[in-house]
Structures are given as C-alpha cells and as structure tokens.
Symmetry: C2
Subunit: 126 residues, 2 copies
Amino acid sequence: MRIGELARRTGVTTRALRYYEEQNLLTAERSASGQRHYAETAVDRIHLIRQLYAAGLSSKTIAELTPCVIDGKATPELLQRLATERDHLDRHIADLAQTRDRLDSVIDGASSNMQTGAPCPRDASA
Amino acid sequence: MRIGELARRTGVTTRALRYYEEQNLLTAERSASGQRHYAETAVDRIHLIRQLYAAGLSSKTIAELTPCVIDGKATPELLQRLATERDHLDRHIADLAQTRDRLDSVIDGASSNMQTGAPCPRDASA
DNA sequence: GTAAAACTTGACGTTGACGTCAAAGGCAAA
DNA sequence: TTTGCCTTTGACGTCAACGTCAAGTTTTAC
C-alpha cells in the first residue's frame, strides 16, 4: 500500500509517516519512480510506535528499542534499556493514578459544597 | 520565603516559577523592592501544579482548574471540566498499562531468546 | 489524453515549557 | 563599605513532533 492508505488506516498523517521514516522508526520499499510502498505489517508497526510515543518515549528511544520489540531479540544492554523504560512507565502510571484519585476527591468535595450551597469564588453573587 | 528557596525546596527552577506566575498558576506577595515572597503553602501548590502537568494538562487548563482544586469549590461548568479531565486521565492510565504489559511480554520474549542462544540482529557475530 | 488526485523533497512555521544570557538593582556579612 | 550571592525584567534560544506551503512528478480516473 502507498503512504496515503497507510495514513488513513492508522489515523496518522502522511507528514508524520515521513517523519517516522526520517527518525528511523519505519522503513519502506520504493517503487521505480520513488514512491513508498508498505507491507501490511506497517499498520501494526505504526500502532506500536504511537503506543510508545504515548508512553512518553522519544523518537530516539523508540528507534533504539523497536528492533528489539519487533524481533523479540536483544542484547543485554537493550534488555536493560527495556526494563528501565518499563520501570519508568510503571512509576508514571502510579503517579497518574495518584493524581486521578486526587481529582476524584476534589470532585467529591466540590460536589458536596455545591449541594450544601457553599459559595464559589467564581460566582459569589448568589 | 524568596524564589530561590522555593526553587530548592520544590526542585523546580526559578525560571519555571516565574513562568508559572506568568501563566497565572501561582501568585506571590511583593516586597517594597519588588522581590517575590511566598507562603509555606506555595510548596504544596507547586507540587500540585507539577502533578497536573504530569497528568498531561496544559498550563491553561491548570490555571482554570486550580482555584477549584485549591478551594474545593466550583461552578457546575468547572465540575464538568474536572470530570472530563479525570476521564481523560483514566483512559490514559489504561493505555499506559497496556503499553507496559506489551513491554513486559517483549522483555519476556527477548529474555527467553537470549537464554536459548537465539542470535541478535545487533550482534549476529556469535 | 487530460485533468484530478496522490506522491515526492525541501524548507520554513508552530507550540509549550521552559533554558540562557544580559544588564540592573537588592541584601546580608565582614 | 565592599564583596558576593540573590533577585528583577526582558528578550532571544531550544527542542520535539509535527503543520503547512511550494513546486514539481506520478498515478489514477474518465
């Protein structure tokens, strides 16, 4: 498939796909005229890339780790990198959960204040 | 306390603290000569701000929500905003957990490959 | 065969959260 | 009083992950 179809099927722009290639996150065959052609596996690859981006990894980190993730093979150093990233992610998730809980308690507090008719700093007229 | 001490005690730079003030996330008393002076509560406030940043909120969003979080009071609209952000956060956490699990299985796969002596693309010499 | 759509590279623009000087004034210790 | 760190505002720099033209080529549709 060509770049437009891959973009449609993954929901990322063609600009982003070319950027990923530039960052060595993605490779493509080229037709005689120079157009990119992708295999079906590229769709999953893009999803993986997006997932790692969402996990807070940089393109540089992703570029270093993806051969390992794709092939399931790694040097001890890469394996260590992966474990480190996993731990960072785990910590991050825990922090976010704490933030969510804090938001929850804020929402609870604000709701009960509203039910008891407590005044609001943004609307102290009533 | 002055800005330097607040920076040391919170681990954020003075530049960031001034930036937070510029974005209306933080206020400070001013001495006659114009220097900023902060109350003890500022330390917690900074931690809250950092926490919300880590949750993926923008300075604009934080500026809109923090009076509510600080005071525990809100208009219905603010409450709705909070609930929306909470849901986004919840979804984000779930996505990250999925990514973490994927990393876990990658690490497992790579580890077993190594134990069985499977070759690595980065070190195919052995 | 031709027009529209898709593709190419190249290059400059954008945004958020600061970093990094610079030039000036403020403040506590010796 | 002078030394030396602290603080002030202002303004330009940075970095990642793209957005957005531009100008030209290729493929597709009729």
